[in-house]
């Protein structure tokens, strides 16, 4: 990394730490959003893919609709129109998931309908001002990608550790960490992933600051 770039990154680190939904301000790692499906339902790669598809189809449209409705409806009703839109969108999304994954969607149980009320989807209602539609679209897509990255990482990781398979294809003949298939293992694993991710961010920020200082 050259010193010019390091200086630019260091100067804008605070802004990037707030707006970068993929890495520096990931919705799961830094804000703890959407933990329920991640810990309990994302036990295999397939389950993670089902949840990822549902989140991809639910999050951005809900946020966009919330933003559009927010410009015409009083803000004190925000929670109702955000959650209401998510509940209505869930109906076609359920059939899309059913069409793509078949009866395998039953493996995620209540965690598929539970997405409609998850703070990952409706959290925006807590803000006092509605966001602009374009910004809602951009942030919605970024949050979706950030969440899905962690979801797939955890889902595939848990399947590999608990069963020694990837998408039901045998990879290992031994089970490295059978507990990973249970909620207790899910908590431990997600905690470890969060710690590792946060450690990488700390190292990255320290590295950028050192490079910037070296340039000065």
């Amino acid at each position: 990394m050259n010193s010019e770039k390091a200086k630019y990154l260091a100067e804008n680190m605070e802004l990037r730490s707030r707006t970068d939904r993929l890495w520096l301000n990931n919705p799961v790692i830094m804000q703890g959003l959407g933990l329920a499906p991640l810990v309990v339902a994302a036990t295999t790669g397939r389950n993670a893919l089902i949840l990822a598809l549902a989140v991809a189809l639910l999050l951005t449209p809900t946020r966009l609709a919330g933003s559009l409705l927010g410009s015409v409806l009083p803000r004190r009703f925000a929670i109702f129109y955000y959650a209401g839109v998510a509940c209505l969108l869930y109906i076609p999304i359920y059939y899309v998931c059913l069409d793509v994954f078949g009866v395998a969607i039953r493996q995620v149980g209540i965690y598929l309908p539970l997405l409609v009320i998850d703070q990952l989807i409706i959290r925006r209602y807590t803000r006092e001002k509605p966001e602009r539609p374009l910004r809602a679209l951009r942030r919605g897509v970024a949050t979706t990608v950030g969440y899905c990255i962690v979801l797939l990482l955890v889902g595939f990781g848990r399947e590999f550790l608990a069963l020694g398979t990837l998408l039901e294809e045998p990879v290992l003949s031994v089970r490295l960490f059978p507990l990973a298939a249970d909620p207790a293992g899910g908590f431990l694993l997600v905690g470890a992933v969060c710690a590792g991710w946060r450690g990488c961010i700390r190292w990255y920020k320290k590295h950028v600051n050192m490079e910037a200082k070296r340039g000065v």
């Binding site: 703890g32 959003l33 249970d182 470890a192």
Partner: protein, 203 residues
């Protein structure tokens, strides 16, 4: 008489099961995001949040039981359930808000009004009601499970808050401080509950 005693027995049995063996947080991770936020923000009144959550959950239970019964013959009931339960939760929230507005005035009333929304539209409330619906509970089971789940959630919040307070921050590596160590601590508690029940829970 035997029907009443049987109903009461089911109520208490399901309340105890939801409180301990099928704990919403340690068994199913319901409402975990709210716990993370409550623990990281000491300014939040977790007792009030849990009280309102339990109240809303308990009031929603009979209505959701009736709605689930009414939708039993519909082929679309699986996809309509979240919408129906959301409408019921919204109505119950409105009712609770009106009652509290009349009973509690001033800053305390404002605080209740602010807390009621997040306490109602929470994965713990909808998750508990969906579990009851999917497992075809009867009314006594619905009520017992809703009460036990709310009480179990409160106990979990107390356990996690106390655990977080007792963790010596200086001895925790920097990357693990905050949410990561909290999740690992909840994982260990969940392991204890798992050891107590001996099997995973139906989701």
């Amino acid at each position: 008489m035997s029907i009443v005693i049987g109903g009461l027995a089911q109520f208490f049995l399901y309340a105890v099961a939801a409180f301990a063996a099928q704990n919403a947080v340690f068994g199913r991770s319901l409402g975990i995001t709210s716990i993370v936020q409550m623990v990281e923000d000491p300014g939040r009144d977790s007792a009030l949040f849990c009280l309102l959550l339990t109240l809303v959950q308990l009031l929603c239970a009979p209505l959701c039981w009736a709605a689930n019964l009414a939708m039993a013959s519909l082929s679309l009931r699986t996809v309509l359930r979240p919408l129906a339960f959301f409408v019921i939760s919204a109505l119950v929230m409105g009712l609770v808000l009106v009652v509290f507005r009349q009973a509690v005035k001033g800053p305390r009333g404002e605080k209740i009004a602010r807390t009621l929304g997040p306490a109602t539209f929470n994965t713990c409330v909808l998750g508990t009601l969906l579990i009851c619906a999917v497992q075809n509970f009867n009314l006594a089971q619905y009520l017992g499970f809703a009460l036990g789940s709310g009480a179990g959630y409160f106990a979990s919040v107390l356990l996690v808050t106390e655990g977080q307070r007792k963790i010596d921050r200086r001895s925790v590596p920097a990357s693990f401080r905050g949410m990561p160590v909290m999740l690992i601590y909840i994982g260990i508690l969940a392991l204890a509950v798992y050891g107590f029940t001996g099997h995973g829970l139906a989701i």
